[in-house]
Amino acid sequence: MTQSVIVQVGQCGNQIGCRFWDLALREHAHVNKKGVYDEALSSFFRNVDSRISDGGACGVGERIQHLKARAVLVDMEEGVVNEILQGPLREVFDSTQLLTDVSGSGNNWAVGHMTYGSAYREQIVDKLRKAAEHCDCLQCFFLIHSMGGGTGSGLGTKVLKLLEEEFPDVCRIVTSVYPSAEDDVITSPYNSVLAMKELTEHADCVIPVENQSLVDIVNKIKYMSDGGKPGSVIKRDSAIISGRGGLSGAEKPFDAMNNIVANLLLNITSSARFEGSLNMDLNEIAMNLVPFPRLHYLVPSLTPIYTLADVNVPSRRLDQMFSDAFSKNHQLIRADPKHSLYLACALMVRGNVQVSDLRRNIERLRPSLPFVSWNQEGWKTGLCSVPPVGHSHSLLALANNTCLKSTFVELSERFTKLYRKKAHLHHYLHIDGMEQSCFSEAVTSLSSLIEEYDHLDATKGKIVLDATRLSIAT
């Protein structure tokens, strides 16, 4: 069994991370009735007996003493991390996993990446190393951050670089929260584009998420639960936004949205933690969904987002789950995959779903989805038997689709609007290590990424003949 380490950077990263740990504990409590520290738990938690000096790590199979998260928390302001340490999750982290400063990064990528990046380099590497040493077999680093600010964006991508340098063989999966067009941080386009270059070069896989999509999903659930349809009642604990049953009591603003992203992370790792008839490990995700090294951005969509209280699940309901996964309402980023080109698609199913259900739905949906010519049947499927809390089954779809091109084009345009007028540029350029070339390189990187998507898009709808086969002399 392998372990993963979560690295949460910045305010957004840490708030999402906090929801993740809460929901992970809830999920394991639901499944693990005997209180034994099993393989599944060990993928995210260490079991520590604090009576034994020097850490006292306990092995798999023993009773749970004290669970410690395999995490590193980084923030250049103290507010969020302090809140975590005073809240119900304080037992799950110890001080060696935290790195904080006081003054924050002022929404400035350069401050996060260059200034704090060099000042704290040693300490960050040290904490990462410690977390890695506690693992028997470290498979993956999950980085959670936002793109629009200073710490998550700047310091977060510096951490990504360090992960590649220090642990080149460990997979790096990044969950990035992208700013919506209506974002209130003026410099978010600068921060995002500068961060994009790092993501393109150093991440194995990036799962972009947009705040606006999360808001839309939350509103939809609120509408349903406020009696949108008469007679339909949402089952307790089943809404994807619900943190009920976890450690934290009252829910804070953004909690609902962050729960969605936390559920995403739980579902990606479910097949690696629990058993199933067709397992899908984390290293298989990058292998199957990344046909060309730089095109590693995946569109996530998650269903169901809630379950109605009546428990009977006829096949029709199951099929609806698959259809929903390909509808825009369930995507965590605003994009239009059905009108662009699919390069690859992964379906991770949890719960009581059989291979025939999977095959039937793939055959049903396939004709309406445009796939690239050399990957007409490009599906990667995984079946995990353990469903998430409150549901009988769930589906996470990750698609490598050229529709992200429009997201990146929009980002690029917002960047250019500011850059043309050199607005706020001096805040960045007077940082040690930062030069005009950083900006131009970042833009070039983004443009060539867009160009790669363009090339693939150009093949859409064209009849492509089979490549001429090798001929054998007879």
């Binding site: 069994m1 392998t2 393989e39 028997d136 077999c137 498979q139 058993e275 008839s277 067709l278 397992n279 490990d281 290293n283 298989e284 990058a286 292998m287 199957n288 969904l289 990344v290 046909p291 060309f292 090294p293 390069l343 690859a344 059989q354 291979v355 025939s356 259900d357 095959r359 793939i362 055959e363 396939r366 010519s373 050399w374 990957n375 007409q376 049947e377 490009g378 599906w379 990667k380 499927t381 079946l383 089979d466 490549a467 086969r469 090798l470 001929s471 054998i472 007879t474």
Partner: protein, 445 residues
Amino acid sequence: MSVVTLQLGQCGNQVGQELYDVICSDAQDAQRSTTHTTVSCERFFHQNKHGDLVARAVLIDMEPKVIKQSMKKAADSGRWRYGDDSHFSQKQGSGNNWANGFCVHGPRHIELVEELVRREVERCDRLAGFMTMMSVAGGTGSGVGTYVTQSLRDVYSKSFILNHLTWPYGTGEVIVQNYNSVLTLAHLYQLSDAILVHENDTVHRICSQLLNIKHISFSDVNRVIAHQLGSVLQPALTADSHGVYSRNPLGELVSSLACHPEYKLLSVCTIPQMPSSSIAYSTFSWPGQLKHLRQMLISNSKMEDGIDWQMRPPSASERTKSLTGASFNTSLANLLILRGKDVYSAEAGGFEDPALYTSWLSPETAFTRWNSPVPFNKYEKSATLVSNSQALLKPLDNMVRKAWNMFASRAYIHQYIRFGISEEDFLDSFTSVEQVISSYTQLCN
């Protein structure tokens, strides 16, 4: 003589467990003749000091979950188990990457695997040979499986090696499955004595149309594969065995079917296949079964449903190429295995028709028949046909076509290069498999 099985990867371990289950329950069925039971148990199990039946199997996977499950399922059956120390697993899988399996995991762990195999072999009085079970779509079964086969060939150069492969659904379980399949087949062809193939698509159809299963799970699929494999491997009386059960099942299988190094792909058909609840209400007749089986062979229909009865073997003057549309399925060799009541009364002359076979092999050499008076797996009479024919040509060609299209755009190649194989290696593998396709296409000339 005993067969040592190597179960590799998730598929190999899941199917293998179902196979031993079928064999064990069939062997122990109350109406068994004791000779049959003894031979079957000797072939597949040894007895530990508590008198339990322990499978002659080595379980190999790069991550532990599946092996744990298979061992538990076996022990829970109460009738047989896996050896406590006969398994090898690591913590992290091969990531669906053939190169990771073949170039990294294989070499890294081969010594420990060889040790486990050696122990199993030493427990056999006489070794009939090896059977490896794996899928071609993933990383461990395909990559590590190929590397382990290479090692078996090196260490046990005189033993028979039968590779059982499961081919994935055409519409994708793994995106890079076609690459993994081409690389596996190209390498295995040099190492294996015979390659027995089951296709998930075909087995799935058997489950839905013949067995009437509504929600088909991988267990259902695996059980059908186990049933078909079991019907090939259970003891039988052959022409060479002189009135007793054959002591050399793998050798006889290979020599009757895979007599030419360019032709090693074998497909299997078993009839009847019906829901177990229907068995009591059905009548079985040899003439009926053999007629159906022969037509299934001719029309290349892999199951007993929707058979094309119009298809006839061509006369000597006409021979058609089989890559284009539904046309006649030419065989190199066929092995018919009949199990059940009144087996000696069955007339199999229809399979000796020269029109079924390629011209350069006489039907006497091409056709072999094994018999067993003991019914198999609850069917009063059942017939299995193992075929070395053009039956797998179309699926193989599709697989190569898709892989080649992907290779033409170099998609995913960087993932394989990272682990140590080059574009040259890919081209070599494509060439080898195209050679196999060409050979089988030529069979009708």
